[in-house]
């Protein structure tokens, strides 16, 4: 239709098996302004973008999740595959660029054959050609083109070479093809025969198009050449016949060793987490200090009035409480990104599959759970890769128990209260203990829920674990950095406004209606007057009214309404707890850092009725326990609803985790007191 092509720009969808280089190619071809679209069924967001201006081609390009075959294996896969034929929002692609890892030619051509059979307009992009060269092989694009009867371009995703040729092919192809693709329909009994036949055909093609590179003697120095000679003279072992990456096999012999494998796994995981704290701590302090100085500056500039207080305590401190945990998020994403890029995470998934399957999870739950330590939102999205519905729901269910980085500022503050200055190393140990505690809690929760789930969810999906272990490679820092940058950006965009909004609300609730209290000012210094005014204002504020309402709930766990208000505020996002404590205890951050002044205020705070100290070892530990369990994050609830397709799971999560938090805090605080530890 002519009108159609004039009005809308053509859509190019990248399709390929997992890890074939789609996202890399997408980043190469796309312009700056990515937007994300929901992949139906897979509510995971996929980026769509205009082709980069330098290519001078008016078209949009869509990244998509990796698929192995056009024949779905689960109901969710069916939705994803049907979306390829007609996406509810963006329609059918005008062209498919099928990425094929050239080191995995036979396996990846299967999908290409199916795409062609279905009648799609296809261009093949051969990726990882650099890796193929390293194995002393090359591939003839011309021959492959002839065999498949569709255009083929070679791409090096790491250097970007070949992308212009690909664009030229796309341009030509967009104008030529006609016809409407239709889903493959085969009788169930025919499917496997069809697959085996396709593979036979592909093997024939593979033999034709792959060839060994001649060894260029002048490109090696002498020792290198000698080494090559020695290697060539050796009889080929069976491993060589398998065309496996030698280094990968050698590394796996250690990292997947029957006994040591698990030990290395724990070592790598603990190293990952400890390094996050090492790197993040100084950066956090820097951000913290920067914002509290800015707040002080604003206050002294604007004076102690409504505007000055709004800007310094409301806006600047509120923003600061969003920014302060950014270093941790960035570092966590960075380290996870590096780990993933090396290829180790797939091994991790394999190592934990068996234990996780015992509690109703899957090896594929590993990466989502690990991401849960950064942030539950991308983690819940990542659970999409679990084909079995029951296992996926259970994974989503327990992800909020993973100690996400929003809890870190809270834990940091509470731990700082517990330990004496000069014993900072103890802080690290306590933090590690909290993490281990949260992991154990999630394991126990998963197995408990798993028992119940059997009654709730009746459909029995086939539980399966089939995962490719990619070759190890040096992670490419620039790619990891770019991904970290975009994750951090998405995160700030999503969580930032919520946190700021709630910080401002808390500021409002603690400031009004009695915003200009009259106090006895005779013989008092300016500073003391401000302090007194702050206390008066708070005592007559909306927050105090609200607080009296919830006081009965807080008393059993040894806390008062001020903590209660902060806990309620923390349901927006956990890190709001810190900024709201700061506001409620009217921290005047002179030239100290924000955290230190909160701590000072906390140490002197007393419960109004009894005059007893509010924050004691037992209540602080109780608060930590509360934060381990409680689901205090609006975004998590929203994403969980979207991903599980209803309110049932998020409501269950909210109720179960929050009542568990309350009950366990009650037990902890009173238990500790009973044992004589106040």
């Amino acid at each position: 239709m002519i009108t159609d092509s004039i009005i809308s720009v053509p859509l190019i969808t990248l399709v390929g098996p997992p890890n074939a280089g789609k996202t890399t190619l997408f980043n190469l071809l796309s312009g700056k302004n990515h937007k994300t679209v929901n992949y139906p069924g897979a509510t995971v967001e996929y980026a769509i973008s205009k082709i980069h201006a330098k290519y001078n081609l008016k078209a949009e390009i869509l990244d998509s999740p990796g698929i192995i075959s056009l024949i779905p294996s689960s109901p969710d896969e069916r939705v994803a595959i049907e979306a390829l034929f007609s996406h509810p929002e963006i329609g059918m692609p005008d062209l498919i660029v099928a990425t094929v890892d050239s080191t995995q030619l036979s396996r990846h051509l299967l999908l290409v054959e199916q795409l062609l059979q279905a009648g799609f307009n296809v261009i093949v992009a051969l990726t990882m050609t650099d890796m193929l060269h390293k194995r002393g092989m090359d591939i003839s694009a011309a021959l492959l083109e002839e065999e498949l009867n569709c255009p083929v371009a070679k791409i090096n995703g790491r250097t970007g070479s070949g992308s212009r040729e690909l664009i030229a092919l796309i341009e030509r192809r967009l104008n030529s093809h006609q016809g409407v693709p239709a889903p493959l329909s085969f009788e169930k009994s025919m499917q496997i025969d069809m697959l085996i036949n396709s593979y036979r055909d592909i093997e024939r093609i593979e033999k034709k198009v792959l060839y060994e590179l001649p060894v260029k003697p002048d490109s090696f120095n002498l020792t290198e050449a000698n080494k090559k000679l020695v290697l060539l003279n050796q009889p080929k072992s069976s491993i060589d016949n398998l065309r496996l990456d030698r280094t990968t096999v050698q590394i796996d012999n250690i990292l997947l060793h029957k006994v040591w494998g698990f030990l290395f796994f724990f070592l790598i995981m603990s190293l990952t987490f400890t390094s996050i704290f090492w790197f993040a701590e100084p950066l956090m302090n820097l951000v913290d200090k920067g914002f509290s100085e800015l707040a002080d500056f604003a206050q002294s500039f604007l004076g102690h009035n409504v505007i000055g207080d709004l800007i310094s305590s409301g806006i600047i401190s509120g923003t600061g409480s969003v920014m302060v945990f950014l270093p941790q998020i960035i570092i966590l994403f960075l380290i996870l990104g590096l780990l993933e890029d090396t290829g180790y995470l797939a091994r991790g998934a394999m190592l934990v599959d068996r234990p996780l399957s015992k509690i109703g999870l899957n090896g594929r739950s590993f990466v989502p759970m690990l991401s849960g330590f950064a942030c539950a939102i991308p983690a819940i999205l990542a659970a999409r890769t679990i084909p079995n519905k029951k296992e996926r729901l259970l994974t989503v269910f327990i992800i909020p128990l993973m100690s996400c980085s929003a809890r870190l500022p809270v834990y940091t503050l509470l731990i700082a209260f517990l330990i004496l200055p000069g014993k900072l190393w103890l802080g690290g140990i306590l933090l590690a203990a909290i993490y281990i505690f949260s992991i154990f809690s999630s394991i126990i929760t998963a197995s408990l829920i798993n028992k119940l789930k059997n009654r709730i969810i009746t459909e029995e999906d086939n539980s399966s674990f089939i995962l490719e272990l990619p070759s190890y490679r040096m992670p490419k820092l620039s790619i990891v950095l770019y991904n970290t940058y975009s994750s951090a950006k998405v995160y700030l965009k999503r969580a930032g406004p919520v946190i700021l909004f709630f910080s401002l609300s808390i500021w409002f609730l603690t400031y009004f209606p009695n915003y200009n209290p009259v106090v006895e000012s005779e013989g008092l210094s300016q500073n003391q007057i401000v302090q007194l005014q702050n206390a008066e204002r708070l005592a007559g504020s909306y927050a105090a009214d609200l607080g009296k309402f919830i006081q009965p709930v807080m008393t059993p766990i040894g806390m008062d309404w001020r903590v209660g208000v902060s806990l309620i505020a923390a349901f927006a996002a956990r890190e709001v707890f810190v900024s709201s404590l700061a506001l409620i205890f009217k921290v005047t951050s002179d030239d100290e850092k924000l955290q230190e002044s909160i701590l000072a205020a906390m140490r002197t705070a007393t419960i109004e009725d009894t005059g007893k100290k509010l924050f004691t070892t037992s209540t602080i530990i109780g608060l930590i326990v509360f934060f381990v369990f409680a689901l205090q994050c609006l975004s998590t609830i929203a994403v969980s609803r979207k991903e599980t397709g209803g309110w049932r799971i998020p409501v269950l999560q909210l109720v179960i985790f929050t009542s568990a938090a309350y009950i366990f805090t009650f037990i902890t605080v009173n238990g500790l007191r009973f044992l004589g530890l106040d």
Binding site: L244, F465, I466, L467, E468, L469
Partner: protein, 73 residues
Amino acid sequence: MKKASELNFGEKGIINEIDFTHPSSRRIVEVGFTPGQEIVLINKSIFNDPLAFAVRGTLIAIRKNEAECIKVA
């Protein structure tokens, strides 16, 4: 004829047939385990499950019970 799950470390086998009654069998074929292919057991996870096989120039981890539907000679 034995099952792929019964191979030893580093032992080679040629796939003879796939047991199509196993619910994972189609996916197993789709990832490259087809009759006639040579496979080698490269790694076992702790508890001997899952198993990593070399097939078509790559490593693929599958569960032991899924490897049972691959018959090798």
